[in-house]
């Protein structure tokens, strides 16, 4: 799965847990939780949605480091590559 496809899945996961968010307004390099005002319940719901969509289970210790959309994309891409996931999900 390429970065573009991962980004799309992440944004869809985001709008799934917070439909009022406009995904187009998100700057990938900026702090995600601040941009869209996610509280801790939203954040955990988001991680669950990412797991459902990409099959990537983000451990509790890693989650705080994934503060921007860019970092999330990098992380998921690495994990998917390491798992030998097929190019198309």
């Amino acid at each position: 799965m390429n970065r573009q496809a991962i980004a799309e899945q992440l944004l869809q996961a985001l709008t799934e847990i917070a439909p009022e968010i406009d995904p187009k307004a998100i700057t990938p390099a900026k702090l995600l939780r601040q941009q869209v005002d996610l509280d801790s319940a939203d954040w955990l719901n988001f991680l669950v949605a990412v797991h459902e969509r990409l099959g990537v289970d983000i451990p509790d210790a890693d989650a705080p480091k994934l503060s921007t959309l860019d970092k999330l994309i990098d992380y998921c891409a690495q994990r998917l590559e390491a798992d030998g996931a097929p190019a198309a999900h």
């Binding site: 917070a18 439909p19 801790s40 939203d42």
Partner: protein
């Protein structure tokens, strides 16, 4: 006969708009089933029915704006005969007619059905010949049309309205901006009433969160994301368990007296990005372990954002819990949501200097940097006194020192 009425979804609601029915006459209805969707200033709400039976007749059309308490539908209780319920329903409807019912401009046939005819299987429906002909041309089933003519007769206009595509307003929620404006008004009214009527008093206590944080970190380290635990679940649990011993903070101030809540159902304040907030109830929170409580919290937040809360969740909260620590503040002193009598607030968990027993010499202490959060209580002085409030906060503090014990679901005896 069972009456289904427009529920009050909080003290700040006096009317609601029926968006749609999810059941039809003849459908069996079980206790707790969502049977209608009602729009309030807060959100579109799934309204549950708390009786068991068979839906007999729908008395209000989608799009109608009706006051709280209006008869919306009648159900047959198990064993009741159709004819008997017809007769009882007619009496109930006659009583209702005297109550004002504000219907919006008829986008479809938005007039509340004045009679049960046409809704009851076997009853004769008046249909004008022109309407019947038109119904055939348009392929409309006249049985499904609700008449707006004399004695509920179906007119040509009713048939045409029924054949027309539904007005967009039926499905499209109000624009976010107008919803936010509406909600602002509702919050303004409730909060102004609270500060006008409720003699608030405020207490606060710093709570060591080290044990809780360690326990959460240890548990979460081994858990997949779908089973992970939220710190907020521990806080809610501590409040819900503590309230079992301090019932004067759990309930409502009505008619000059305290009505203790039937069960502890904390309302969780959830702020909305488009403005305003809602505080849906997390029912019987003390009876859940932290895993189940976390899932319930996640579900509540998700459904609040998606606009699919249930009526019982908006009507049932017996106290409010607000967790403004998410926004990074150290403490919060809340405004009670009337007719509730208390609000518990939590600030941010942060590392603070904390004196711990150094062992050895009596009174010797070391200062360590430990995770601490401030819990606060805003309470109604008509219903409780500061001494009891202090005991409640102390109980919450003590419960949070032993998260393992707090995890166990509390057995709550059935109310007598």
């Amino acid at each position: 006969m069972i009456e289904f009425r427009m529920p009050s979804l909080g003290s700040d609601m006096d009317e609601g708009k029926l968006l749609k029915w999810l059941v039809q006459p003849g459908d069996p209805v079980h206790k707790g089933q969502v049977i209608a969707v009602v729009d309030t200033s807060k959100a579109a709400i799934d309204v549950e029915c708390w009786s068991e039976g068979v839906l007999h007749a729908l008395l209000v059309e989608p799009e109608a704006v009706i006051p709280v308490g209006t008869l919306m539908a009648v159900l047959r209780a198990p064993g009741e005969r159709v004819e008997d319920v017809d007769a009882l329903a007619a009496v109930a409807m006659a009583r209702e007619v005297s109550a004002p019912v504000a219907a919006p401009p008829p986008a479809r046939s938005a007039v509340p059905a004045p009679a049960l005819s046409g809704l009851t299987p076997g009853a004769r429906q008046r249909v004008s010949p022109a309407a019947r002909r038109r119904a055939q041309e348009l392929g409309v089933d006249v049985e499904s049309v609700r008449g707006s003519g004399p004695d509920g007769a179906i007119t040509l206009a009713d048939v045409e309205a029924c054949a027309a595509p539904p007005a967009p307003a039926v499905t499209a929620p109000p624009a976010a901006a107008s919803r936010a404006r509406e909600m602002r008004k509702v919050i303004a009214a409730a909060m102004a009433r609270s500060k006008r009527e409720i003699p608030h008093y405020y207490l606060a206590e710093d709570i060591l969160f080290a044990n809780a944080a360690n326990w959460l970190a240890q548990r979460n380290a081994g858990l997949p994301v779908t089973q992970r635990l939220l710190p907020a679940a521990l806080l809610v649990k501590a409040v819900a368990v503590a309230l079992q011993r301090y019932p004067e903070f759990n309930g409502f101030w009505r008619d000059g007296g305290l009505n203790a809540g039937a069960g502890v159902h904390p309302g969780i304040a959830i702020s909305l990005r488009e403005g305003g907030l809602v505080a849906p109830a997390l029912r019987d929170a003390a009876a859940l372990d932290i895993a189940a409580l976390t899932r319930a919290l996640l579900d509540l937040v998700k459904r609040t954002r998606a606009g699919s809360l249930r009526s019982s969740e908006l009507a049932d909260a017996t106290i409010t819990i607000t967790n403004l620590g998410e926004q990074g503040v150290a403490s919060v002193f809340g405004v009670i949501y009337p007719p509730q009598v208390a609000l518990v607030g939590f600030g941010r968990v942060m590392l603070r200097p904390w004196a711990v027993d150094a062992g050895g010499e009596a009174g010797a202490a070391d200062v360590k940097a430990l995770p601490v959060l401030t819990a606060s209580l805003a309470a109604d002085h008509r219903a409780s006194d500061g001494h009891r409030g202090a005991l409640l906060l102390a109980q919450i503090r003590d419960l949070l020192q032993d998260p393992q014990a707090l995890d166990a679901p509390l057995h709550i005896p059935e109310p007598p």
